[in-house]
Symmetry: C2
């Protein structure tokens, strides 16, 4: 590969000037810029990121910490992030948040300019990592609830509002008994959704004694099992699952046992996952803008890296009620 020095030699200028053309073009005489650019073109010159990073401290890379790349939610997030990072020639290093020591290495070894962190529930040692990052004054953005004790900005989704809308939709039906299937016990999203759901139900005078909670874990398998335990007796006439995966498990049980949806039991989820519309019956759910979240997060770290002042401390992205056929039509 052609090096900066080769370009300097070819163009007849010094390495410093070539470097300026790359980084601060305005400090160089236009004619010089032209000549140097010609040389770069001719030699097919590309700056060596490692050398640049070592010398300047800027890596043009950000780390993304995710619970699981495989989950739909996260892969869409990731696409949002990579789509914008590619536009600005940033590299995206993806790490599983469960291997937190590896993430710590990333900060120690100085591989990245910033972090985007999605922590869905409290993970051991994550606070140590965050404190460590913040000590280096590297920018961090949280997706989901801001981390307690940290004042780094966060991008969150209006879980409470979305679940509340669903509750209002449910309320029109005079359901007698409703089952709410949660996510993991301490999952922040799940808790917010439960909170919003209860709030919305209460606002319509629903007696919360008739809302039963079952602890799920966001998987279809667990929800399927829960459905088996609760829904066999036709006691419940509605189920709200904390995510679409869980709703999928419920639907599966109901179909299998020939319990009519929505005539006998209404089912709703949360996410608007790509399969939601194609479940049977098509799932009523709350859409959250996962891809957008990724984009916003990446744009904001970028602003922080470039020390632009106006990064909002918290941005809340709206959710939307998506009405399909798995619920009896409510009053909106």
């Amino acid at each position: 590969m052609a090096r900066l020095e080769d370009v300097a030699e070819d163009s007849g200028f010094s390495r410093a000037t070539v470097s300026r053309v790359i980084n601060e073009e305005h400090l160089v005489k236009p004619d010089t810029v032209r000549k140097i650019k010609e040389s770069m073109e001719k030699l097919g010159y590309r700056p060596n990121m490692m050398a640049r990073a070592l010398s300047s401290g800027r890596k043009n890379a950000i780390a993304v910490l995710l619970p699981d790349v495989t989950a739909l939610y996260y892969s869409n997030l990731l696409r949002g992030i990579t789509d914008v990072s590619q536009d600005v020639y940033y590299h995206t290093i993806v790490k599983s948040i469960s291997k937190i020591d590896l993430a710590a290495d990333l900060v120690d070894s100085g591989m990245v300019d910033g972090f985007i962190i999605r922590h869905s529930s409290s993970i051991e040692k994550i606070d140590l990592l965050i404190r460590k990052i913040e000590k280096t004054s590297m920018p961090v953005i949280f997706i989901g609830r801001p981390f307690s004790g940290s004042k780094s900005p966060s991008i969150i989704v209006d879980n409470v509002g979305g679940a509340r809308k669903m509750a209002h939709y449910f309320a029109g039906n005079n359901f007698k008994k409703i089952l709410f299937i949660t996510g993991h016990r301490d999952n922040i999203d799940s808790n917010d959704r439960r909170y919003g759901f209860k709030m919305g139900l209460a606002e319509h005078g629903f007696n919360l004694k008739n809302l039963v909670e079952a602890e799920g874990d966001f998987t279809k398998e667990k929800a399927y099992q829960i459905a088996g335990e609760y829904l066999g007796g036709k006691e419940y006439d509605a189920v709200f699952a904390a995510n679409d995966n869980s709703a999928m498990g419920v639907l599966h049980f109901l179909n299998e046992n020939n319990i009519k949806v929505p005539d006998e039991v209404s089912v709703a989820g949360f996410d608007d996952a790509f399969f939601a519309e194609y479940l049977w019956p098509p799932l009523t759910t709350v859409r959250q803008p996962m891809y957008e979240i990724g984009r916003v997060a990446m744009n904001n770290v970028l602003m922080m890296i470039n020390r632009e002042p106006s990064v909002p401390g918290e941005v809340i992205l709206p959710t939307e009620l998506i009405i399909r056929k798995s619920c009896r039509a409510g009053v909106i």
Copy 2:
């Protein structure tokens, strides 16, 4: 951050010796190793990857080029890759293959030690990229069919065999007319699956005139539309879709129009995507080991990077027929 030099000073040895402890411990006297490690521990020393990369040429990073992180197939692949790369302290840089110039930058700017490339259909300029990579003698592994004109190793899935098994399963039913829904026209996987399917059908004496092909694009939406065009008239008694997404679209149309599956029409897919079992009815399909593919790919680049000789030129991972309820029971 503590630097190597700080460790050297603290321990009373030279930088070279400290470096050896990091990279070639066996060349150093045990007692010295111990002392130096104590210093490293005490100072919280972590090697700076950038400096190491610049000096040694090793980046401890590989690039993964994927058509789309969002698709289930690819996100599982990615998890396989990141799971092993994390174990060996490698970084994974993910790029969309559609932005091929950015991938080219990765090789020019010397950010990575190797590439894992998944090209699902021929993409403009991809051959240029591959030639460029191979010119640097950086290791490349292909996932899916090897790239023509390249002799880098590849990991492929037995698409032909899987589809053939499905054909055999179909054949027991004496279906009169079968619809095959393809992927994108030039998609390699889709073509292999068609080939295997036809082969298997022919082996059982099925008249291939009664196999009709419709050009899909691997999406549920397109398959749904195709189902509308072909399956309204009850002419077909079976559908094989080139992937589970497409099968999902078909199922959706059938459910919506109250056409009984599998009594009136049998439906099968390919992938065994996570939702396949939870569709209604549960989808008969061919399972491919996506996660495994990722692991194998990563392990093999690693071997190549370390110049271990025995990297297989081609590894074919098996597929498995998964029988559920969306097909009339065939004879196996």
